[in-house]
């Protein structure tokens, strides 16, 4: 067990971050049909702002509040002002438009904060417990717990609540949703704002646990997308599990020297393999799809 347990826990700790990010992406996709490439950048700007607040000497709760507020406003702003104008385009076009948003945010971050090594330190970093020989800080536990809680909460929210149903309706067919009387602009803005808050949480945790660097936080969205691919962009639970699995696989690859340098590719490899496995035996076309 020894070393393996250590690597398992270490992998879970990183996987929780992938998972958390992935769940936020899937949620927005379930609600609005948009895959948000700017997710990382939104969280990144929140985290940078939080760092600034801490730097100025304000207490941590204020930093959290500012981070979440900024992420909420950025995301909801996009959802209110830009997303509706692109609503009639294909999902891929909607997705790449968010990349434009992400890049603009990245540019703004680099303008506001000259590239420099920074570190975000949160109070929870200070406490730690020992799991299978690996010390885990409070922040890492928070990531894992937040991942579980949000996964469970969101799955229920989408299925059980009216707002959740509205979001699913909106994502399914926007025009029809409007005809049926769904307040689409409102629901859309709420969904984006909600996902922005999740991006903020993710950004804070990434900023603390991975690196507080605008470019890294912006582009971390790409390996995170791997988890959503495994979850077929719809299953929150699968996405969460995929995130954990990717973290663990990445961690275990360290043990095998020849593959160790490639281990960062594990999100992508896991995504492609999972996909091939998921669609084994599927027919080329099926009635109803065309």
């Amino acid at each position: 067990m020894g070393a393996y347990g250590l690597f398992l826990v270490s992998g879970l700790a990183v996987g929780a971050l992938y998972a958390l990010g992935g769940v936020g992406l899937v949620l927005l996709n379930r609600a609005t049909g948009v895959l948000n490439f700017a997710y990382g950048a939104i969280g990144g700007l929140g985290a940078m702002a939080a760092w600034q607040i801490l730097q100025w000497g304000y207490p941590e709760p204020i930093a959290w509040a500012v981070c979440l507020a900024i992420a909420f406003l950025l995301s909801a702003g996009y959802g209110a002002a830009i997303a509706p104008k692109l609503a009639h385009r294909e999902p891929v076009v909607k997705a790449v438009a968010t990349l434009g948003f992400g890049i603009a945010i990245l540019g703004a971050m680099n303008l506001l904060w000259v590239v420099n090594p920074r570190k975000l330190t949160l109070a929870l970093d200070g406490i730690a417990i020992n799991v299978l020989g690996l010390r885990m800080t409070g922040t890492r536990l928070l990531a894992l717990i937040a991942g579980f809680a949000i996964t469970a909460g969101m799955s229920l929210f989408l299925v059980k609540t009216r707002l959740g149903l509205m979001m699913r309706v909106l994502a399914d067919d926007r025009q029809q949703a409007a005809v049926l009387g769904t307040p689409i602009r409102k629901v859309e803005t709420i969904a984006w704002g909600f996902s922005g808050v999740m991006a903020g949480i993710t950004g804070m945790l990434f900023g603390d646990l991975v690196r507080l660097d605008p470019a890294v936080l912006t582009f971390i969205v790409i390996p995170i997308i791997a988890t959503t691919v495994v979850g077929r962009l719809t299953s929150i639970r699968t996405t969460f599990l995929a995130g954990l699995a990717i973290g663990v696989i990445e961690s275990f690859l360290t043990l095998y020297k020849p593959l160790a340098p490639f281990r960062v590719a594990s999100p992508f490899i896991v995504a492609i393999l999972a996909l091939l496995w998921l669609q084994r035996g599927r027919k080329l076309t099926f009635a109803g799809a065309d």
């Binding site: 027919k283 076309t285 099926f286 009635a287 065309d290």
Partner: protein, 238 residues
């Protein structure tokens, strides 16, 4: 002559087709039944989009089921779709001619088949027009021309009359009636317009809940009490 035996299709728990066995031999055969009866599924089995759980299909001496869909088309099974499928950015001649591409014809022969099919469906004047500008009727006719071009053995039309006006219906009726003499192919026609079925189909099969209710001469089928109950609603024929 198509002989179908024991075809069963299930989607999850739903039996969309249940041990359907029937022999079809008239030039135009109607397929009717309530919504969700399995008519489109039946065509999907014939064209190879759905693999049945059991059963076999022999048509004109060939075993159909082992062939992949595109081979069936080359062999001679053609179909139109419940939602019309014409490609907007292609011209009418390309929309129709594409079916001849895979038949390995010489260019003269290809042109001959193409011209004949367009003429048959009354589209000759429009052949260089892009399909994007066509109206619903012209689009339907383009689809039928695509099915009829070359030397098909079986044409399957899934609700070709849906959404057409009465005048257009009359022309459609004429085209369907003429297919057999145009290229010798047999036609399977799904439609909910009983007048159309009555006018063009010498025999008809009726599906309900995936099972064959009855098959035979159209007149007999339409007066069958079971059909009147499940499909027509009793007073309709009375």
């Amino acid at each position: 002559m198509i002989s179908i035996s024991d075809i069963t299709v299930a989607f999850g728990g739903v039996r969309a087709l249940n041990k359907v066995s029937v022999d079809l031999s008239d030039p135009v055969v109607g397929i009717i039944g309530p919504n969700g009866a399995g008519k489109t599924t039946f065509l999907n089995v014939l064209s190879g989009f759905i693999t049945p759980l059991s059963g076999s299909i022999r048509a004109f001496g060939s075993e159909i089921l082992p062939m992949p869909p595109h081979r069936r088309s080359r062999w001679g099974i053609r179909r139109s779709f419940q939602k019309e499928q014409v490609v907007d950015e292609l011209t009418i001649e390309d929309n129709v001619g594409v079916v001849l591409d895979s038949l390995g014809l010489g260019s003269a022969e290809r042109e001959r088949h193409l011209a004949a099919a367009l003429e048959f469906c009354g589209l000759s004047a429009l052949r260089k027009t892009r399909a994007g500008g066509l109206n619903a009727f012209e689009r339907r006719m383009t689809e039928i021309a695509r099915c009829a071009a070359g030397k098909p053995k079986i044409l399957m039309l899934d609700e070709p009359g849906a959404g057409l006006s009465q005048i257009e219906m009359d022309r459609l009726r004429q085209v369907i009636l003429d297919i057999h003499s145009f290229n010798g192919a047999m036609t399977l026609l799904i439609d909910h317009d009983v007048d159309l079925i009555q006018a063009v189909c010498s025999s008809t099969m009726v599906l309900d809940f995936g099972s064959l209710v009855v098959a035979g001469p159209t007149r007999d089928v339409l007066s069958d009490p079971r059909v009147r109950a499940v499909y027509l609603g009793v007073e309709e024929v009375a």
